[in-house]
């Protein structure tokens, strides 16, 4: 599955020294050329646009090439709360997803081993949310927690919420939605890792006087680290850039707008391309730095 993407399963093909040359080029060239054209050049285009200035002679939303690095300072000073909010929400949702997913993945991958059919069925249930439209399932939560719903009215009756307080539009709701939507991205790599976990190591641990809690901390957890790393990356990255959950039409409000919402509105609605592009570059840069620091810290450097 794609979810091993970040795992360290890069087996080196050292035992297969094969002829290189024409065949390899023929196999690689079309795909790599495609990525160069529609992934690398666009990133470059994005950087160029982020440095453009408004066309003095032109009208609304017309820009000329320039090297206006001030754009970056402007967007940072204007949108710092959104940037921080994005990473804060992403962190919270990733941690929540990890806490929810780990026991589930452990159950499917380790406890359910004697019943392979059950394992498969449960895996299907884990990815089931993927099969219903991302937007529809988010809207479903919005309706379930809507201001008129019995959940909200009972929370108000219980005094947990004031009569004037609601759930939709709050950071809680946005983080809730982000967590829900990306849980399968966390559970699957954790499952892949735990499914391969040799339970004889756990037996050896308890044979060597470790209590069940110690066995978990000293053996299970470190051995499932590759799954934790790829799971957290696979959830954190898309969450940091998401703008559906935080959007006012979905689970959020203007006070929960994330960096993705700002990029979307600047790019598609008010056509402030340089600002949107500068924010995109910042988002990408921060993520790349975070990812490489994280990966290095966690010791799976063969990842890249």
């Amino acid at each position: 599955m794609a979810f091993t993407a970040f795992g360290s399963n890069n087996r080196s093909p050292s035992n297969k020294p094969r002829r290189t040359g024409k065949v390899v080029i023929a196999l690689l060239a079309p795909g790599l050329a495609y990525l160069a054209m529609f992934f690398l050049t666009p990133l470059f285009a994005l950087i160029m646009v982020s440095l453009e200035t408004p066309d003095p002679a032109g009208g609304f939303a017309e820009y000329v090439p320039a090297f206006e690095f001030g754009n970056y300072a402007n967007v940072v000073s204007e949108y710092l709360p959104h940037i921080l909010r994005s990473f804060g929400y992403a962190l919270a949702a990733t941690v929540l997803a990890l806490l929810i997913s780990y026991p589930l993945a452990y159950f499917i991958g380790v406890k359910a081993r004697p019943w392979p059919m059950l394992q498969k069925l449960m895996l299907t249930l884990v990815i089931a949310p993927f099969f219903i439209s991302f937007l529809l399932r988010t809207l479903a939560w919005k309706q379930i927690f809507s201001n008129e719903s019995w959940i909200v009215s009972s929370l108000q009756d219980l005094g947990i919420l004031d009569q004037t307080q609601y759930v939709v539009g709050t950071p809680f709701m946005v983080i809730f939605g982000l967590t829900y939507n990306f849980i399968p991205f966390m559970t699957l790599p954790l499952y892949t890792s735990l499914e391969r976990l040799d339970t004889r190591y756990l037996e050896a641990g308890s044979d060597l006087y470790a209590t069940p809690a110690k066995v978990f901390r000293k053996v299970t957890l470190p051995l499932s680290m590759p799954g934790i790393i790829s799971g957290t990356l696979l959830t954190f990255i898309p969450i940091a850039g998401d703008y559906v959950n935080a959007s006012g039409d979905f689970l959020g409000s203007s006070s929960t707008a994330m960096i993705g919402n700002v990029i979307e509105s600047n790019y598609l609605q008010i056509n402030d391309y340089p600002s949107a592009s500068a924010l995109s570059v910042i988002l990408m840069g921060v993520i790349l730095v975070l990812v490489s620091v994280y990966v290095r810290k966690s010791g799976t450097e063969d990842l890249l």
């Binding site: 004889r200 037996e203 308890s206 044979d207 209590t211 110690k214």
Partner: protein, 374 residues
């Protein structure tokens, strides 16, 4: 939790153990006593319940019925980490995310014993691998991993060390070397070793006492020499070395021996070496205890003779030849002869009589299954 190091091993006692798994009974009514300080081997074919017994002792499985005592203490309901027992796993189960040294120190750290690394290094010295302390287990050869697994278990000075076919993954030569080493280490540390294996040579070579296990129960237990010299059941006679078995009704009985008639041959066994003294019994003898002659020998009170038979096959195995002799109405008999002089001493198709000393016969408690030709 047993925190102190033990000076010597403790004894192990299994009482009336029964272990059921969904769909089958792995062990039924097992009683076993392993004296302290012994090298004890549990020998049997795969699926006989020997590994399950070991896992029960380690606490990795819970018995359905029965009790387990280690050093006189009932440990039946304690968890693996609370038992003064360590295991050398068949797969070694060395933690892949820790260095060799950290693997060996793991148990010490869990029990919060002082200077875990110093003790771990000593244990690595004992298995002659101090130079590999910083490696990862994956970088070690099978034999080295085996030694690390041994050190990791021994360093804790368990009352009882469990070995689950620890040599199974090694090649023959390394295996024999490790057998000698393992035995030497056991003598040096004086702990109780419970060794599970399906290799009869390994069991006989290393153990003070061997228990032969079959179908979830112990068939026979004793010193290797005694087991080999006087097997009591068909299974033991066949599993521990080879045997020729002859089946017949007891026709005569004297003060110290009984005889059966088989195809016109009178076969005797000392009463003291027979499990049953009347009815239909099986009498066996070892192939290397018999000789064959080209002329019918004069009958004697101290030897059994059968024949004539025909040499059907001769297999050269180096130190000895194995002769397969077909005796009409009796079946095939195997005889081993050392290659002392010229070999082989006889040609295919020649007629021979087989003879062996009466005191080398043994009488079994059960009969071979119908399908099994004796």
């Amino acid at each position: 939790m047993a925190k102190e190091f033990v000076a010597r091993g403790a004894d192990l006692e299994l009482k009336q153990i029964r272990k059921e798994f969904p769909g089958f009974v792995a062990i039924d009514n097992l009683d076993l006593h392993v004296p302290a300080g012994q090298f004890f081997a549990l020998l049997g074919p795969s699926g006989c319940g020997k590994t399950t017994s070991l896992r029960l002792v380690a606490g990795l499985e819970t018995p359905t019925k029965g009790k387990i005592f280690i050093g006189g203490k009932d440990v039946t309901s304690t968890k693996p980490h609370e038992r003064p027992v360590n295991t050398v796993f068949q797969s070694y189960a060395l933690f892949p995310h820790m260095s060799v040294l950290e693997n060996v120190a793991f148990g010490l750290r869990q029990r919060k014993i002082d200077n875990p690394l110093v003790r771990a290094k000593e244990a690595l010295n004992l298995v002659q691998l101090p130079h590999l302390a910083d490696r990862r287990p994956q970088q070690l050869s099978g034999g080295q991993q085996q030694r690390v697994a041994l050190a990791r278990a021994l360093v804790n000075r368990p009352s009882l060390l469990l070995l689950d076919e620890p040599l199974g993954a090694l090649d023959l030569k390394l295996r024999r070397e490790m057998q000698i080493e393992l035995k030497a280490i056991q003598m040096e540390v004086g702990l109780t070793f419970l060794h599970v294996t399906h290799d009869q040579e390994e069991a006989m070579d290393m153990a003070d006492t061997v228990a032969v296990m079959n179908l979830g129960h112990i068939e026979q237990m004793g010193a290797p020499e005694a087991l080999y010299d006087r097997p009591k059941t068909v299974f033991v006679s066949k599993f521990l070395g080879q045997s020729n078995l002859l089946v017949g009704e007891v026709t005569s009985s004297s003060a110290n021996s009984i005889s059966i008639e088989v195809a016109g041959n009178k076969i005797s066994v000392p009463k003291a070496r027979a499990e049953k003294h009347k009815g239909k019994i099986a009498i066996g003898f070892r192939p290397e205890k018999a000789t064959f002659l080209t002329k019918k020998p004069a009958s004697s009170a101290s030897t059994n003779v059968i024949g004539p038979g025909v040499i059907l096959d001769i297999r050269f195995t180096g130190t000895s030849n194995q002769y397969l002799i077909e005796v009409p109405e009796l079946g095939n008999i195997t005889v081993f002869a050392q290659n002392i002089g010229q070999s082989p001493v006889i040609q295919l198709g020649e007629q021979v009589w087989i003879s062996w000393a009466i005191e080398h016969s043994f009488g079994l408690s059960d009969l071979p299954a119908k399908s099994e030709k004796a």
